[in-house]
Symmetry: C2
């Protein structure tokens, strides 16, 4: 069928084409079918949307990703991409092979799958799981479509947390310690997706985080490390698409998680990696047994890809630092480097840094490097290399001035500090968009409190946001205080 193209903007990243219902019927094209578009001696595939009104008969509406197609084109029904068959096989619980994953990842990367197909992929992986072999193939396939960083150093250290814990900003401290000890550690981090602050959001408070590959290389050659945003360098581009389908369903299948993390690490050129797996009620992984299985799989897939992977199974029930939100977490980080700061954040950072040094066969003491102030000095060097102010101190960082403190309503014992509810509250207050918004946690589980003692403070940048967060705060109970009599038993 011969059609004239017309540009249409519908805010999509998928290669959708709009067909008038009459033309679509003529072609026999249903919604989400593919058409083959011949134009200027080249051929492109489009995904069909039918419409009565948006385009007239005889016109092919081309959306944003296909705006390069102009003029008169020949359109015919095309077959569905090969990956759809493989996705169906995975729904049938058939073990997929290397070339299947290559096709699937390439179709995902090129935006060739509709939302229905992408979701079926994620659902299949989630419900039927991935074998170790499949996870290896998927990781390789995902590495294959990303950019690669290359380093001269024989050992390139890295650290990754599977996430889900508030105020868990140990990375800047670990990078500062490890690079002081002489390790090369070009750290790329993510921004928050569903959390109140990613490491990149926290660093963004102190310096720039978006750099080209050449700029990153310059920073690393100067300081041995960096703390930049990974999204700027496209290490595993298929991952963003997959996350787009995982988020609305709130699922994060373990095999996919391993492939997403390790494909990025491999593309980043890392040779020695520590994976932090927080576990416990409210964390991504609830049971210790599952955490250990995940750790073993991480190590096996790592070995297959010639990476030395070690895992740290940590406590993920309550927040690590006191602050949750970009500015509040940056303040905690600086305080630890300055010699103080929240004890759990300090402890966890030192332990993971020690583990990383040992893992990379470096004979140095993380505690000594931190206590001597050399880690702080190194951190300031990195901030300077990333165009920030190296003289910054923790006291310079002011959280949002609209604030309210929630107090204990009775004498008793703190039976639970609910990480998830606190993160939710921090987002309601405006984090990560409003960098100075967030929560300061004043209590830890098992503390004894008296009526009127502060439990947590909400900070926001505006009164409206504070109001919103306060309303939600009234519906939740992120820090639960019970009288001694009720502390151990909840009667229902």
């Amino acid at each position: 069928m011969q059609l004239d193209t017309s540009r249409v903007d519908i805010g999509t990243s998928r290669p959708l084409v709009l067909l008038n219902t009459v033309d679509a019927d003529e072609l026999g094209a249903h919604p989400l079918d593919r058409v083959r578009i011949e134009h200027d001696q080249s051929v492109t595939t489009g995904i069909v949307k039918r419409t009565d009104q948006l385009v007239a008969q005889g016109v092919l509406g081309v959306t944003e990703p296909l705006h390069h197609i102009t003029g008169s084109v020949t359109v015919q029904l095309a077959s569905t991409p090969g990956s759809v068959r493989y996705i169906r096989q995975k729904l049938d619980d058939v073990e997929l092979e290397s070339h299947h994953f290559e096709t699937i990842v390439s179709d995902i990367h090129e935006h060739r799958l509709s939302d229905v197909e992408l979701s079926a992929y994620v659902s299949a992986i989630y419900t039927n799981g991935l074998s170790l072999e499949e996870t290896k193939h998927l990781t390789e396939a995902m590495t294959g479509v990303g950019q690669r960083l290359r380093w001269d150093a024989p050992v390139v250290a890295d650290k990754h947390s599977i996430g889900g814990v508030g105020g868990d900003c140990v990375t800047p401290i670990i990078v500062s310690i490890a690079t002081t000890a002489g390790l090369t550690m070009p750290k790329t981090s993510s921004r928050a997706v569903t959390s109140p602050a990613g490491t990149a959001d926290v660093m963004d408070v102190l310096c720039d985080v978006e750099f080209s590959i050449a700029e990153i290389e310059a920073i690393v050659s100067e300081t041995n490390g960096c703390l930049v945003w990974g999204g700027g360098v496209d290490l595993s581009p298929a991952d963003d698409e997959i996350i787009r389908a995982e988020n609305p369903l709130s699922i994060d299948p373990p095999g996919q998680l391993i492939a997403s993390v390790l494909s990025k690490k491999r593309s980043a050129g890392s040779t020695h990696v520590i994976i932090d797996i927080p576990h416990g009620e409210g964390a991504k992984v609830e049971s210790l047994v599952t955490a250990r299985e995940l750790a073993d799989d991480f190590k096996r897939v790592g070995a297959y890809l010639d990476m030395n992977v070690s895992c740290a199974i940590t406590h993920g029930t309550d927040p690590v630092g006191r602050g949750i939100g970009p500015v509040l977490e940056a303040r905690d980080v600086l305080r630890v480097l300055e010699g103080g700061g929240p004890e759990p954040l300090r402890l966890k950072s030192v332990q993971l840094a020690s583990m990383l040094l040992k893992h990379c066969d470096v004979d140095a003491s993380a505690t000594e490097i931190l206590n001597s102030g050399r880690a702080l000095e190194k951190f300031r060097d990195i901030i300077a290399a990333q165009n920030g102010d190296p003289a910054i101190e923790s006291d310079d960082l002011e959280p949002g001035s609209a604030q309210t403190t929630v107090e204990a309503a009775r004498d008793g014992i703190v039976v639970r500090v609910d990480n998830r509810q606190l993160c939710d509250l921090a987002r309601r207050a405006g984090a990560p968009k409003d960098t100075r918004a967030g929560i300061v946690v004043h209590q830890r589980a098992t503390n004894s409190v008296q009526k009127g003692d502060p439990l947590y403070t909400i900070h926001a940048e505006t009164a409206t946001k504070l109001d919103e967060a306060e309303t939600v705060s009234g519906q939740l109970e992120p820090i639960r205080v019970r009288s001694k009599a009720d502390a151990l038993v909840e009667q229902r």
Copy 2:
């Protein structure tokens, strides 16, 4: 957040709203998140699409289903609908209960789910299956959201094929026989979705098929039966949405199939139903064992809903009639009623009609009714009641004049008549949109043929469509002829 609404057309049936990226970040809204829109003292939920260009900051773009929302509105982040949690549970292979299915079906019916969520539902049902209890609950929930037809007759007969076979238009013949025998049989049928002709498409050749409920009642009170399009009466509206996700994945999970079919039968007021389950290579159900299991489940769910369901397991490997496509199938139907026609179509119709009469406790002979010409007379009455020409004869029906006949390339035996390839070819020739397009099959499996004998004829309405079908025909081999020596063994 206060926003001004602006109407946007993007050809969607989902309640999407477009947010400028800046506003979306401010709200913390990701793609496919929900927002709560307060307007004119009422509240509506929208699904978020983020855009840099389509709407400016401060503006909420409302798409077609939300065009009733105008003026200034208050927008805030909303929680995901309850059904998403239940879908995730089904992905976890948790058995769902009655109220879960009610929520899911109601959210599907109200277009409240995004494509990602709808696909996860279909994927979960497909991969983890539905228990008998779950299928019952789902069927009840799907019936609950549809319109209901009510009839005075104590016995209301119905017949349904799960489909997938070409030229299988037995329904008009069965309805004519059953209503002649005194049964009430208000038959609603579908149009083709992925096949070359649905029963409604075939009847559309002979008379009108789209009627209101009142009109259908008038037709049935006059003739005891009807042969109308079911889409006009909305008996199970959630089904169309579910099919929208099933089609691109080419999956049709058994529990969902049973619920879709029986919810429609129940809404149509049927009391006695025959389900035709074609099986064999290339049919929807390949093995006899699976067909029998499906039949048993159909009967059990039917009994639960107080319907008398019987199943006919039939051969679904090759086409039943000779013609495939609306006009060609209408011609076969008339020929059988006139006393001739393709033998397998005649036989299958009589056997299913006999089964239905017995099932409804009617003492009459289907063969006698057909042979006496009374079924033809009744069929003409129905055509007249549906505004068609009752004098029509099979010879009045002319297939498309652009035609080509494919001949045997060698002497030998017909080892396979491939139903799927023939249907594909009929669609390429233009069916069902071009009603006179389609295929006439000249051979059946095990026939002996000589080089040059006709195998099948392609009919199209235009030379262009014929060309297209011929090209595809050259790539396929819908009727396979092998020399006697190779007939039983394919060497690879």
